[in-house]
């Protein structure tokens, strides 16, 4: 209760401070409220005018060659189309433009297909000619040349410009007329021959469009609305968040606030809620006009005017879903913004972070616009992405309430994570830990040792480079890709960072000779781990890339197993150990208890393998490796386990065909071996812990040093 009271006081103060700034209020909340109805009505009027204009626009068709009176009559029945003959004047202009040949090419003697072969320059010239003469299309008709046949019929072709909607429209209606003319001629001919028309054509084709105009419009809106709403959410959250966090820091009031006997969590929640308030207020003032407008359309069933759009409108969903989606989304984005605000030490630095934060919605928006992803039980659980998808499907299709609640829960959970991160940031400031801000700004005076922030940033950068390398070197030989990603990126990257910040390489990479017991335990663990995984994880099949593509690239004509061993077992083992059990794990150990550090590093290790299917296996291997290195304090122990594990997998892949296992099949180790291996693994882990107790405590993380000294 008291906790909430403090948060509430902070919330109230932020609100009060916000309302003391009349410029912000005017620009963010009042202006949209006034401007947007005007813009909305103006936009709708424009749309209505355009629809009307499209219906009645005058189209002129240039006709050349011999067009039958029948067809001419059909086309000119259409009120807005006028036919224009190719008179001497126009013919002269065409000649001047050097388009005579074009015209004769358009009117081929025998084959309609030859039209496609016209050159680009001529096409451009002709397009410009049409435009300058205010003509929409050219309709050319001629007599099909006959080769011995009695009757040859007509041939018609249309020249149009698909980039011009008038031309497109004229082409469509003339085309329709030609089609029906064709049908009539066909039927007449059949009659002449004494046949009914359906005797020769056994298939008739028709199609019905079920989407009313507004639905077609909605699906286009569905691509725009998420973008608009996300932009508004971010923009309205970012400025209050900046102001109440890093702004207070710069103005010197955060220092005052931090001397108070209040918990960081109270501070963060109070500020997050105030940002949420401003975010929702901004959202409301931006969205209220269109929502009210839609409501008027719905309630009056389109009779309130607003031109042509009104009569079509029917919403796909209850408007009450909107707050259900938007409020949790706003909570998440507020918490994110506040978190980023606490990260930064200076306002100018925070602005840099926010530019990146603004890019956050871009990716999910692209994903949602691509149309491959739907708002369903799974995607509803992915924060940010679910907002874009939900908004898109809200406009287009009825949305299940279950997914909406699922989404709200996922976003609130993510918001809680960011609140936690903010609290962590404040606490680590008290502890004097290296801040993310110092690492990002490459402040090597301050960053003199590893930290969790360093680990996370290093992981992100390395992963980014690995992804790029995978795309760029897709077609390169596998050896080149492996050498590049593992040696240059995974080892070279951290090496450069550590050198830059002048952090001890020996401590970061754990380069120390292991004890004999640790080596024995590592050998045992390296052999047992893959067996345990292959026995107890039913999803662990021989990975496709290992069995098919890899096998072909690795074992060319039964090729060298040594090469495979180097590529799959040795290089990755050495490089990944240096990175994950090196700076990443060591950095995490400086901010988290050992267990958590091992779990987080194992999770990052799992993600690095970029396969959801293999995640449980890689995660578990990561835990074993983490325990081994933390306990033995030697990276070589991790390398040994890793080499053995990967080597065994390579061996099994090589042996798989001889054991009668086909590619892609589940590869299961018999239960008895699995159990034995599990016992072996447990023994190995036990040995690691025993080994740790025997080691002299000469190299332990900094926090422990302090505790000991205290």
């Amino acid at each position: 209760m008291k906790f909430m009271r403090t948060s509430y006081l902070i919330f109230l103060k932020e609100l009060r401070e916000g309302f003391r700034d009349p410029k912000t209020i005017l620009l963010n909340y009042l202006l949209p409220l006034i401007l947007y109805p005007v813009l909305t009505i103006w936009g709708v009027e424009m749309a209505a005018v355009r629809i009307e204009r499209e219906r009645s626009v005058a189209l002129s068709v240039l006709v050349s060659g011999k067009v039958s009176e029948d067809l001419r009559g059909r086309i000119s029945k259409e009120k807005n189309i006028t036919l224009k003959s190719l008179n001497e004047e126009l013919r002269g202009k065409l000649e001047n433009a050097g388009l005579n040949k074009f015209l004769s090419d358009v009117a081929p003697a025998s084959k309609a297909e030859s039209i496609g072969a016209l050159d680009l320059e001529a096409k451009t010239k002709f397009r410009n000619f049409l435009r300058s003469e205010e003509l929409s299309i050219l309709l050319h008709c001629g007599v099909r040349s006959s080769t011995g046949e009695k009757s040859s019929g007509e041939i018609c072709s249309i020249v149009y410009d698909a980039s011009d909607w008038r031309s497109e429209k004229a082409k469509q209606s003339v085309y329709d007329k030609l089609e029906s003319q064709k049908r009539n001629l066909y039927e007449a001919r059949m009659k002449e021959l004494g046949l009914t028309s359906n005797m020769l054509s056994s298939l008739s084709i028709g199609s019905v469009n079920t989407a009313e105009v507004v639905r077609v419009a909605n699906s286009k809106m569905g691509d725009i609305v998420p973008f608009l709403v996300m932009t508004i959410l971010f923009l309205t959250a970012i400025y209050p968040a900046l102001n109440s966090t890093v702004g207070e820091r710069e103005r010197g009031t955060l220092a005052t606030l931090l001397t108070l006997p209040i918990f960081p969590a109270q501070l963060v929640t109070g500020k997050t809620f105030s940002v949420l308030f401003f975010c929702l207020a901004g959202l409301t003032s931006y969205l209220l006009p269109p929502v009210l407008f839609t409501l008027v359309l719905v309630l009056t069933k389109g009779e309130a005017g607003f031109g042509a759009l009104g009569s079509y409108y029917s919403p796909a969903n209850s408007p009450w879903l909107l707050p259900l989606i938007l409020i949790p989304a706003a909570v998440l984005i507020s918490a994110m913004s506040v978190c980023v605000g606490f990260f930064a030490r200076k306002l100018s630095e925070a602005q840099g972070y926010f530019s990146f934060l603004l890019l956050t919605p871009a990716l999910p928006l692209m994903a949602s616009a691509s149309g491959d992803l739907q708002f369903d039980a799974v995607t509803a659980l992915i924060p940010i992405l679910n907002i874009a998808l939900a908004l898109k499907s809200l406009v287009v299709d009825p949305v299940s309430l279950v997914f909406v609640f699922e989404m709200a829960a996922a976003n609130l959970a993510a918001a809680a994570f960011f609140v936690g991160l903010s609290v962590h940031t404040i606490r680590s400031e008290y502890r004097g830990d290296t801040a993310l801000s110092d690492i990002v700004t490459l402040n090597r005076k301050v960053v003199r040792r590893l930290s969790p922030a360093f680990s996370v940033l290093l992981f992100t950068l390395v992963m980014g480079c690995v992804l790029y390398a995978n795309v760029a070197l897709q077609k390169a030989p596998i050896f080149a890709l492996l050498v590049f990603t593992h040696i240059f990126v995974m080892v070279g990257g951290p090496l450069a960072a550590l050198k830059y910040f002048r952090i001890s390489l020996i401590d970061s990479f754990n380069i120390r000779a292991p004890s004999k017991m640790a080596l024995a335990a590592a050998t045992l663990a390296g052999i047992c781990t893959p067996l345990v995984l292959m026995c107890f994880l039913p999803q662990f099949e021989v990975p496709k890339e290992l069995s098919e593509a890899m096998a072909k690239r690795m074992f060319p004509e039964g090729g060298s197993a040594f090469f495979a061993f180097i590529c799959i077992a040795l290089i990755p083992a050495v490089a990944e150990e240096l990175l994950f059990r090196g700076p990443i794990l060591q950095g995490l150990l400086r901010g988290f208890p050992r267990g958590w550090a091992v779990l987080i590093s194992a999770f990052l290790f799992g993600i690095m393998h970029m396969s959801a299917l293999r995640l449980p296996a890689t995660f578990l291997i990561g835990i074993v490796l983490g325990i081994a290195v933390v306990q033995s304090r030697s990276v070589f122990v991790g390398m040994l386990i890793h080499v053995l594990n990967n080597g065994l997998v390579v061996l099994l892949v090589k042996l798989a065909p001889t054991m009668g296992i086909k590619e892609g099949e589940n590869f299961q180790v018999p239960l008895i071996y699995g159990l034995l291996a599990f016992a072996g693994l447990a023994l190995a882990v036990g040995m690691f812990f025993r080994d740790a107790r025997l080691l002299a405590p000469n190299v332990i993380p900094l926090r422990d040093v302090h505790e000991k000294a205290a």
Partner: protein, 256 residues
């Protein structure tokens, strides 16, 4: 008028034992130990970059000591950090109140955050307004006040909750002679009321005028400490400045 009973005035307010703090890979403060008492002014003296601010930030619970132990009014900071903060009023020259708020509003806000009731808060604010002669401007926006007025308001904020300990970090740094005289008198008055005051400065004159106990801090370490009288007369120096320079020379001599 004494805020605390006389029996308190001789007891230890702050007990720092071997405080060290590593900042930016450098040991900003190393093995600092001292005791500060109620009813006395402890002056931490040293040149710029000696570790004064780092030490005071640790005392104010804004920075965790890397090693060492710190007891404030008998409570260790390693447990119940938020409780310990209740006994401390902290102020530096860089600290500000909200520019869009009046001093009155800011004081009300911080007082409520400290859990004070509205009635007692009103009473306290009235008293502070009288003490610091703020009646002219306490209803103007903080952003529009002069720097002296802002300083007085900020000090009033540090005293709002009647802290037993007042930690003041170079608060006279940017003030003119008259303003700093007002503030130095205020510090003496608060000492006489029984508070423990820890005060940092690089001005030896101020320290000589104010301090009961003095610690010289140089390159992160306390090189000499004791009562002001003892330091000045005991070392045979005529002034505090001389005493300080002697102490520095001595340390260098030992090192050489």
């Amino acid at each position: 008028m004494k805020v605390f009973a006389n029996s308190l005035s001789s007891t230890i307010a702050i007990k720092a034992t071997k405080l060290s703090r590593e900042l930016s890979g450098v040991e900003a403060v190393r093995d600092v130990s001292f005791k500060a008492h109620f009813g006395r002014i402890f002056g931490l003296l040293g040149p710029n970059g000696a570790g004064k601010t780092t030490t005071l930030r640790m005392l104010a619970c804004l920075l965790e000591p890397s090693t060492g132990s710190l007891e404030i009014c008998g409570n260790s900071i390693s447990n119940r950090l938020e409780e310990v903060k209740r006994d401390i009023g902290f102020m530096t020259s860089g600290m500000k109140l909200y520019e869009a708020f009046t001093p009155e509003e800011s004081l009300l806000y911080f007082g409520r955050l400290r859990g004070m009731s509205k009635a007692s808060l009103r009473q306290k604010i009235d008293q502070l307004v009288a003490d610091f002669e703020m009646s002219q401007f306490y209803r103007k926006r903080f952003g529009k006040l002069s720097s002296g007025e802002q300083q007085r308001t900020t000090i009033a904020n540090a005293l709002l909750h009647d802290p037993k300990i007042l930690i003041l970090d170079e608060i006279t740094l940017s003030l003119d002679v008259i303003s700093s005289a007002v503030i130095l008198d205020f510090i003496k008055r608060e000492r006489d009321r029984g508070r423990c005051i820890v005060f940092s400065t690089h001005s030896m004159g101020e320290a000589e005028y104010l301090c009961d106990d003095i610690g010289f801090i140089h390159q992160g370490q306390i090189i000499t400490q004791g009562t002001a009288r003892k330091i000045i007369h005991g070392s045979g120096a005529g002034s505090l400045t001389e005493a300080f320079l002697n102490a520095v020379k001595q340390v260098k001599g030992v090192a050489a």
